[in-house]
Subunit: 118 residues, 2 copies
Amino acid sequence: MTLPHPHADQISLPIVLAVLGDPTRLAIVRYLASKEGVPLNCSQFLDLGSKTNLSYHLAKLREAGVTRAEVVGTSRLITLRRDDLDARFPGLLDSVIAAAAEDTALPAVGGHEVEISA
Amino acid sequence: MTLPHPHADQISLPIVLAVLGDPTRLAIVRYLASKEGVPLNCSQFLDLGSKTNLSYHLAKLREAGVTRAEVVGTSRLITLRRDDLDARFPGLLDSVIAAAAEDTALPAVGGHEVEISA
DNA sequence: TCCTTAGTTCAAAAGTTATTGAACAATTGG
DNA sequence: CCAATTGTTCAATAACTTTTGAACTAAGGA
């Protein structure tokens, strides 16, 4: 079972911008960027909303071509489509991520790393 | 009489992205960028919609901090807030404009330059 | 002053997006 | 098989956005 993703050349600029223009989704992208290389699953974003709501936002990101979701068991491993976005809209993702990294008004993922007890 | 504009450091990334994530507004920004230096008034965008609708979209761009509107007589001279946007979100505007310039699906202004008849 | 030009405001209608909870499916481990 | 884990789907609702037309304001020119 694979999930639908737009082909690289079907990624639309206004749709990408509209999808990124939501604080929850921007926070998701920022977190993905901060962990680039490490595929994350949906539950790692639960700080940002309910399970259902994240399913909705992650679907929006995927359908816009911003993220890729690979089904592995019961998980979906989510990654940024950096290569496709960079090819299609050079510099856009980097500037958005850099700006999002500075944005303290954005919701954040984190604060519950597993403590290594003594 | 002056119109309300956000101060440079109040410009918000998600709001800017959401505002740019509309084809009409992206077309406005693309046209402003293509004529950078030349202040344009609202009626020069009438290709993109009705007068009322443009008033709405231009207000959104201004309130988001993407454009500046100066009242001159009965006109508003509209310019991109390139300096403020570049300072706040380096590279963002350039990458958006470059991508928008390539986007043939976007509505366009133009096609009615005054013909110089023989 | 009267008319035109430039643009705004308002209210209504239409459309879209976000959020929720309950129910569902699929995989994994015991 | 059973239960737990992961995530989706559905329907409802709430909230927002876009578009429209009519009425309006403000400035400028005849």
